[in-house]
Amino acid sequence: MRDILAFFSAPSLWPQLTLGSGILCCLAAGMARGLEAATSRVLGTAALIVALWMLLFTKLGAAGPLVTLDSLGLAWQILFYAGSLPVFLSLEADDEVPAALLLGAGLGMGLMAAGGSLLMLFVGLELASLPSYLLVAKLRSPSAPPFEAAVKYFFAGALASCLFALGMALHYAASGSLALSSAPGPMGQAGLALMGAAALFKLGAVPFHFWLPDVYESCAPALAGFLSTSVKSAAVFLLMRLASIGMGSAMAASLPWIGAVTALYGALLALRQERLQRLLAYSSVSHAGIIVLGVGAWAAQGCDRAAAAPIFFYGLVYLFMSNGAFFFVKASGLTKRGEVGGYARMCPVPAALFATLLLSLAGIPPSGGFLAKLFIFWEAVKAGLYLPVAGAALAALIGLGYYLGLIRDMYFDEPVWRRPSWEPGAVRWVLWACATAAAALGVLPWVFSSVLERIFS
C-alpha cells in the first residue's frame, strides 16, 4: 500500500496524474448533459496545458522500481503533450469520447517517458496505442470507408506489440531482469532486435511502414497531425531507450541505414501521390527516416543524454510543420494535388502560411526545418556515417520535388475551381502558430537553445 502511495505521490508523475484526472473530468462532463457543449474540449486542452506547466516542477530521479524520470523523458513529454494540443481544437463540440481517448494516449506516452523498466515501457506503449486505434475509427475523413483504416492500424499495432512482448521475453531470459540494461548473448541481441522492430513499426520506418499511408489518409487531418507528431515521438523515444540499452549492438548499428532507406523510400513514394493527405503521410515517413538516422548517429556516439538535443529539436520543429500542414488540409478542404492550382490567387494568406510550412518541411533556410536537418546531418557526419547522410540528403532533394511542386501549383497556376472554402476560427490560429513557429525556430533558434540547455544540463 505504501508503495502504491509513494508511486502516486512522486512529483515525477504529476503531469500524468493531471492527464488521468482530465480523462475523468471529460467523461463526467459528458455524462452531465446540462453542461455546455464545448466543455470536454476545454477540459482536455486545460489538462494538457496544466501537464505541460507541471513539467517545470517535476523532479528528475527514481521513484520506485518502475519509475525513473531522466532529462530525456522530461524533454520528450513536451513533444507528447504539445503535439496533442492542436487536435483538441478540431474536435466536434458535443462528443466527450475523443477528448478522453486523446488524454488517455497522452497518459500512456507520459508513463512511457517515466518508465524505468521495459515493463513500464510496454504498458505505456499499449496505453498510448489502444486509444489511437479507437481514435482512427472515430475521427475519420468523410470519404474514407468506415473502420478499414482502424482495423489495419489495430492489426499492425498488435503485431508490433507481439514483437515487443516477445523481445522482452527474450531479454528477460538472457538477463533475468526487465531493467533498462543490456542483456548478454545472442538471445539478448535477438530480444533487442525484436523490440527495435516494434519501435520501428510504430514509427512507420521501412520495411514496417505499409500501414501508415492508409491510416493517415483515412483519418481526419487533425488526427493525422497528432499521429505523425505525438505518437511518432513516442516511438522515437522508445527507439532511443532501446538504443541506449543496446549500444554497439547490431540493432543500433543498423539504424542509420534503416533511416536513410526510409527517408529515400518515403520521399520517392510521396512524389507519386495524388491525394494530399497521402502525400503528407509519405512525407512523414521520409521525415521519420531522418529522425531514425539521428537516433542511429546518437547511438553510435555513445547515447549521451545531452547529445539528444538534435533529435529533440527535429521532433519539435516537425511538430509544428506536420500539424500545420495537416491543419491546412483540414481548413482549406483541399483533398487532391490537382485542386491546389491557383490557390494563392484566392486565399493569399493561408497559401503563404502553407508555403512557409512547405519550405520548412523541405529544409530550405532560413527555417526551422533546415536547422533540424542540419543538426541531424551534422551528428551523423560526426559519427562518420557519410553514406547514410548522402542518402538522406538525396531524400531531401527528392522531397523538394513535391514540396516545391505544391508551392509552384499554388502560385504559378491558374485557379482551377470556383470558390475556395476557408474554415475560420481556431483552426486558423493553429495554422498561424505552426507556420510562425516553424519559421521562427530557423531564424531565432538561440532563444530556443537556451531553453534546451536548461532542460538537458
Binding site: 530550405i364 533556410p365 533546415f370 542540419l374 557519410y386 540528403a393 531531401a396 516545391l404 502560385y411
Partner: protein, 485 residues
C-alpha cells in the same frame, strides 16, 4: 553597421508586401536607393580602415562555433556595390510594368539575401543566406516570367538546391574534420583558412564544394539550368541572375575553396582550369547556335564566367584581380544587355533574332547603346571587358600558358557570336512579319539607366585603377596561400 545592408532591404521587402497599389513600387525604390547610397558611403569608413578587412562586425558565438560574423574587404565591398546598383536598376527597369506588391518585395528580399552572402565571414551564416537567395528568385521567375516560367523556375530551384546539398554536407564534413585536427568547433572562414584537409576525405569534401559552387557559376557540366532560367525570367530577373547570382559561385571559390584547400586547388588546377576553358569554348559555341536573344546572352555568360574562374585560378595577383574585376564587368555589361533585350521584349513581346531588323532608323539610341554594350562584352579595348579579360589571361599565361592560349580563342569566339547577332537584330533588313515596326526608341527613363551602365563600362575601361585599388588588399590576402610562380 553592416547588418543594415541586409536588414534594411529585408524590412523594405516586408513593407512592400503590405503596401497597396503603386505604393509598393515607391517603397522598393526608396529602400533600394537608400541601400545604394549607404553602400557607396561605406567606402569612407572602409578607406579609413586601410586593412584587408575594413569593417568587421561579429556577434557572440552561438553553438558549435557558429557565429554571426560579417565583414567587408575590397572584394565584398565591390560586390555589395554591384548588388545595390543592379537592384536600383531592376526597380527602375520594371517601373512601368503593372506588377503586384510581391514582385517589388521579392527584389528587396533578393537584395537582402545577396548582401548577406557577400558580407558573411561565417560559413554557416553564408550558407543560410546562400540558400535564402533561391526563394525570391524562384518566385520572380515563376510568377513574372514568360511562357516556360513554370518549368524554368522549378528547374532552377532543384538544380541549385542539388548543388547546395553537396555544399552543406561538404561544409559539415569540413568543420568536423577541422575539429578533429584543431580541437575547436569553428565555421569562421578565417579560422578554416589554410586547413588543407588531405586524404580521400579531403578530396571528397573538396569535390562536393566544387559541385556546390560550380552549379552557381555555372561550371561546365552543371550549367544546364542557366539558359532556361535566364530566358524565362522577367528582364529584371535576368539582370539579377546574370549580374549578381552567378558571381556567388566565383565568390565561393575565392572565399572558401582557395583559402581552405590551397593544396588541392593547386594540384587539381589542370582539371579545374580545363573546365573553365570548356566553359569558354562550349558556352561560345552554344551561343553561336541560338536563335533567341536572351538565350544567346545566357550562353555568353557561361563563357564569360569561364574567364573569371580562369583568372581566379591562375593564382597570380594580376589574374586574381582580373577575375574579380571581370565579375563586376560582367555584371554591368550583361546587366545592360539583358535590360535592353527587356526593352525590346516589352515593346514587341518578341526575342527571336529573326523577329527584328532595320532598327537603326527606328531606334537609333537603342542601336547605339546596344552596340556599346556588345563591344564591352566582346572585349574592345577602352571598355571594361577588355581590362578584366586581359588581366585574367595575363595571369593564366604565367601559370599555365597553354590554357591561356586556349581561353584566348574565346575572345575571338565571343566576337563571332555577338557581332552577327547585333547585326541581325539592328542592321539587317527585316523580313515579312517582323516585329520591328512596333519598336520605339528609348524614352528618358530608359536612357538614364542605359547611360549609367554604359558610362560605368567606359569608366572602368579607361580608368580601372580605383577599382583595382579597392580589390588589391583582398587579392593580396589570397595570394600567400598559393604555390604559384
Amino acid at each position: 553597421m553592416l547588418t543594415a545592408l541586409w536588414l534594411v532591404p529585408a524590412v523594405g521587402g516586408i513593407l512592400c508586401l503590405f503596401a497597396k497599389g503603386r505604393t509598393a513600387r515607391y517603397t522598393s525604390a526608396a529602400f533600394a536607393a537608400a541601400v545604394l547610397a549607404y553602400s557607396v558611403w561605406l567606402s569612407v569608413p572602409y578607406g579609413a580602415a586601410r586593412g584587408a578587412w575594413g569593417i568587421v562586425e561579429a556577434g557572440p558565438s552561438w553553438i558549435f562555433g557558429i557565429r554571426y560574423h560579417l565583414a567587408v574587404d575590397g572584394l565584398a565591398l565591390s560586390l555589395v556595390w554591384l548588388t545595390a546598383l543592379l537592384t536600383v536598376v531592376c526597380v527602375a527597369l520594371s517601373w512601368r510594368q503593372d506588377f503586384s506588391a510581391g514582385y517589388w518585395s521579392s527584389f528587396m528580399f533578393l537584395e537582402a539575401a545577396l548582401m548577406g552572402v557577400f558580407l558573411s565571414r561565417d560559413l554557416f551564416v553564408f550558407y543560410v543566406f546562400w540558400e535564402a537567395v533561391l526563394i525570391p528568385m524562384f518566385f520572380i521567375i515563376g510568377l513574372w516570367g514568360s511562357d516556360g516560367r513554370r518549368h524554368a523556375a522549378m528547374k532552377f530551384f532543384l538544380f541549385t538546391f542539388f548543388g547546395s546539398l553537396f555544399m552543406l554536407v561538404g561544409l559539415l564534413a569540413l568543420v568536423t574534420i577541422h575539429h578533429a585536427t584543431a580541437g575547436v568547433w569553428t565555421w569562421d572562414m578565417a579560422d578554416l583558412a589554410g586547413a588543407n584537409p588531405g586524404g580521400r576525405m579531403g578530396l571528397a569534401v573538396f569535390i562536393s564544394l566544387v559541385i556546390g559552387f560550380g552549379v552557381k557559376i555555372p561550371l561546365f557540366p552543371l550549367h544546364t539550368w542557366l539558359p532556361d532560367a535566364h530566358t524565362e525570367a522577367p528582364a529584371a530577373g535576368s539582370v539579377m541572375l546574370a549580374g549578381v547570382l552567378l558571381k556567388m559561385g566565383i565568390y565561393g571559390f575565392l572565399r572558401v575553396l582557395i583559402p581552405v584547400f590551397p593544396k588541392l586547388v593547386w594540384d587539381l588546377l589542370p582539371w579545374l582550369g580545363g573546365l573553365a576553358c570548356l566553359n569558354i569554348i562550349y558556352g561560345s559555341l552554344c551561343a553561336m547556335q541560338q536563335k533567341d536573344l536572351k538565350r544567346l546572352i545566357a550562353y555568353s555568360s557561361v563563357a564569360h564566367l569561364g574567364f573569371c574562374l580562369l583568372g581566379v585560378l591562375s593564382w597570380t595577383p594580376e589574374g586574381l584581380a582580373g577575375g574579380s574585376l571581370q565579375m563586376l564587368n560582367h555584371g554591368i555589361t550583361t546587366g545592360a544587355l539583358f535590360m535592353m533585350v527587356g526593352f525590346l521584349y516589352e515593346r514587341t513581346h518578341c526575342r527571336g533574332l529573326s523577329d527584328f531588323g532595320e532598327l537603326t532608323g527606328r531606334a537609333p539610341w537603342m542601336t547605339f547603346f546596344f552596340g556599346w554594350a556588345v563591344m564591352a562584352s566582346v572585349g574592345l579595348p577602352g571598355l571594361n571587358g577588355f581590362v578584366g579579360e586581359f588581366m585574367s589571361l595575363a595571369g593564366m599565361a604565367r601559370a599555365i600558358p597553354l590554357m591561356a592560349f586556349v581561353a584566348a580563342t574565346g575572345i575571338v569566339l565571343s566576337a563571332a557570336y555577338s557581332l552577327p547577332a547585333y547585326q541581325t537584330v539592328f542592321w539587317a533588313s527585316s523580313g515579312a512579319g517582323s516585329a520591328s515596326p512596333k519598336v520605339s526608341d528609348l524614352d528618358a527613363r530608359e536612357k538614364v539607366l542605359v547611360w549609367v551602365l554604359c558610362g560605368l563600362m567606359l569608366y572602368i575601361g579607361l580608368c580601372p585603377t580605383p577599382l583595382l585599388t579597392v580589390l588589391a588588399p583582398s587579392v593580396a590576402a589570397i595570394v600567400p596561400y598559393g604555390f604559384a610562380p
